[in-house]
Amino acid sequence: MSLTSDEVNRIAFLARLAIDPDKIDAYAKDLSGIMNFIDEMSAVDTEAVPPMAHPLDQAQRLRPDVVTEENQRETFQKIAPKVEAGLYLVPKVLE
């Protein structure tokens, strides 16, 4: 299969990933090659095979519903690119 430049742009938008417009064609070519490599799977009949999510088929472990973490806002915000008054700053979303 091959991916068009438009499809690469659509996927890049879904991933919120800016791609240099000059490089879209190169990405389309690389991704098409990778998808062809992956497509070898489609020749195999897997109708009756259950999907494997965990090698040892373990389920999510449960724990008692008690608070174990303290609030460490200051520590974690110290490494944020932009904070003010304990809040993360982002460009305005609503006018």
């Binding site: 919120r16 791609i19 897997t46 259950p50 999907p51 690119p81 305005k92």
Partner: protein, 482 residues
């Protein structure tokens, strides 16, 4: 001193032949002298190291020392280290000073090891040559024109160049075993869930597993003992009793049944590697093992399945890097969408972008069943092949990689060619099994690695076989001239 194993250094510390401070200073000097040409370290932490060495000397003096007390090590830069940059080889995290330690780091610190610094790697562990690192490629100490392998290339090169006696690595599709093979050292990827993933920057969460890299199997056993164990902070950590991997390594391996999968010895394998593996297996047979031909019929599907599962999980894991809470943030964003898109577009390198795009596509509406679920079904088939094989044999042996270390630039323009260098290692991650690589020879002056794969929780057995092999050969003692 730098040629000694961890076991020998540990004995030297206990007998007061040298102190941890002397040992640490000696390795730091060696890093300063040799690393500019190898580029194995992203960050060296001499002040912390000297402080930790002094503390280790106090513990040694008091007689409160374990086998790793005072031993210098280095951490792959994928592990979060409190107060030290934890970059994961990416511009995205170039300024990221972790506010906490990974469990692996805490455990190795508690065992008394002395961290010398953080090791170079492919960006977010995505690569097989270390060429995708934001900090420039690591050079293979055996030949500076060739790659060290990846993604734990800095770890493998640092141990091979004797800049550190042991290091941590992580392995999602071969990232401990393939660089260990390329650099002529020993490394083990444990059973999925044996070592905590807490604080290990996530790539593909259902495959990622940390393990040790060192000169010998015995040293790997000592490091793994400290690293492994249940961690409530990792939701896939396995609750099971702790094992002592370094015990019983000298016992006989008489009666060991080795399986040789025909799929490991077919087209595409370098004949020199084929020959070296056969010779190594011959040595192990002399120790009392028997050999049986086996088949892993779905092996050829491991690459395709892996390149759905790993990118899908990475696209989800890396979604958290958005320029808001930590990591790189683009300048002057015009709106929120622009902030997200440019922070990620400018912060990630080309291979990471390729994988995010593939993963996003595979998980997008209408494609999920055709790709991710299909790949998980293939995963089951691959895992069942191994299950069947382990009814007849105790371990599986074969090459770690189809070639020895290749030249810089040789595969970096062709993603598929690069992906194929992990063709023998990927299936092990998909099945969640333990696997290791041990040095078994050279081709054109470059090391050859043999892979040993075992059933779930057979780390002790793998290390045991490797240790016995290393008792009758000296490939693991060879070191490059620098």
């Amino acid at each position: 001193m730098h040629d000694k194993t961890i076991r020998e250094l540990s004995d030297g510390l206990k007998s007061k032949a040298f102190s941890s401070l002397e040992l640490t200073e000696s390795f730091l000097k060696r890093i300063e002298r040799l690393d500019p040409s190898i580029n194995a370290f992203i960050t060296v932490t001499p002040e912390r190291a000297l402080k930790a060495a002094k503390a280790a000397d106090v513990a040694l003096e008091k007689g409160a020392a374990g086998p790793l007390t005072g031993i210098p090590i280095a951490q792959k830069d994928i592990f979060c280290t409190e107060g030290v940059r934890s970059s994961c080889g990416s511009k995205m995290l170039d300024q990221f000073i972790s506010p906490y330690n990974a469990t692996v780091v805490d455990r190795l610190n508690a065992a008394g090891t002395v961290m010398l610094g953080k090791l170079n790697m492919d960006e977010f562990a995505m690569g097989s040559s270390n060429e995708t690192s934001f900090y420039g490629p690591v050079k293979n100490p055996w030949n500076l024109e060739t790659v060290p392998g990846g993604s734990s290339g800095g770890s493998a090169a640092a141990v091979a160049a004797r800049l550190v006696p042991g290091a941590t690595g992580t392995d999602t599709g071969g990232s401990i075993r393939q660089p260990a093979a390329f650099c002529g050292i020993t490394g083990i990827k444990p059973t999925y869930g044996l070592v905590s993933r807490w604080g290990m920057i996530a790539f593909a969460s259902s495959l990622d597993q940390a393990g040790p890299m060192a000169k010998t199997a015995e040293d790997c056993a000592l490091l793994l003992e400290a690293m492994a164990g249940f961690d409530p902070k990792d939701s896939t950590s396995l609750e099971r009793p702790k094992e002592t991997y370094s015990q019983g390594l000298d016992e006989s391996i008489e009666g060991l049944r080795i399986g040789l999968p025909q799929e490991f010895f077919g087209e595409g394998l370098d004949p020199d590697i084929h020959q070296a593996i056969q010779a190594a297996i011959g040595e192990i047979e002399k120790l009392g093992a028997t050999v049986k031909a086996i088949s892993l019929p779905h092996m050829h599907l491991s690459g395709p399945a892996y390149y759905v599962v790993a990118p899908a999980e990475c696209s989800s894991n890396l979604a958290r890097l958005d320029g808001v809470r930590y990591g790189y943030r683009a300048e002057n964003p015009k709106d929120l969408k622009d902030l997200y898109m440019r922070s990620r577009g400018e912060g990630f390198g080309a291979e990471v972008k390729r994988r995010i795009l593939i993963g996003t596509y595979a998980l997008s509406a209408g494609y999920y069943d055709a790709y991710y679920i299909k790949a998980q079904k293939i995963r089951r088939l691959i895992s069942d092949d191994f299950k069947k094989a382990f009814e007849e044999v105790d371990v599986i042996m074969g090459p770690t990689s189809p070639s020895v270390a290749f030249q810089f630039g040789e595969k970096s323009q062709d993603p598929i060619a690069m992906y194929l260098s992990d063709i023998y290692t990927i299936a092990v991650n998909l099945a969640g099994l333990p696997g290791m690589s041990v040095p078994v020879g050279f081709s054109k002056g470059l090391p050859i690695g043999m892979q040993i794969i075992g059933n779930y929780f057979s780390e002790q057995r793998l290390l045991h076989v490797a240790h016995r092999y290393q008792g009758v050969t000296d490939w693991h003692q060879q070191s490059p001239t620098l």
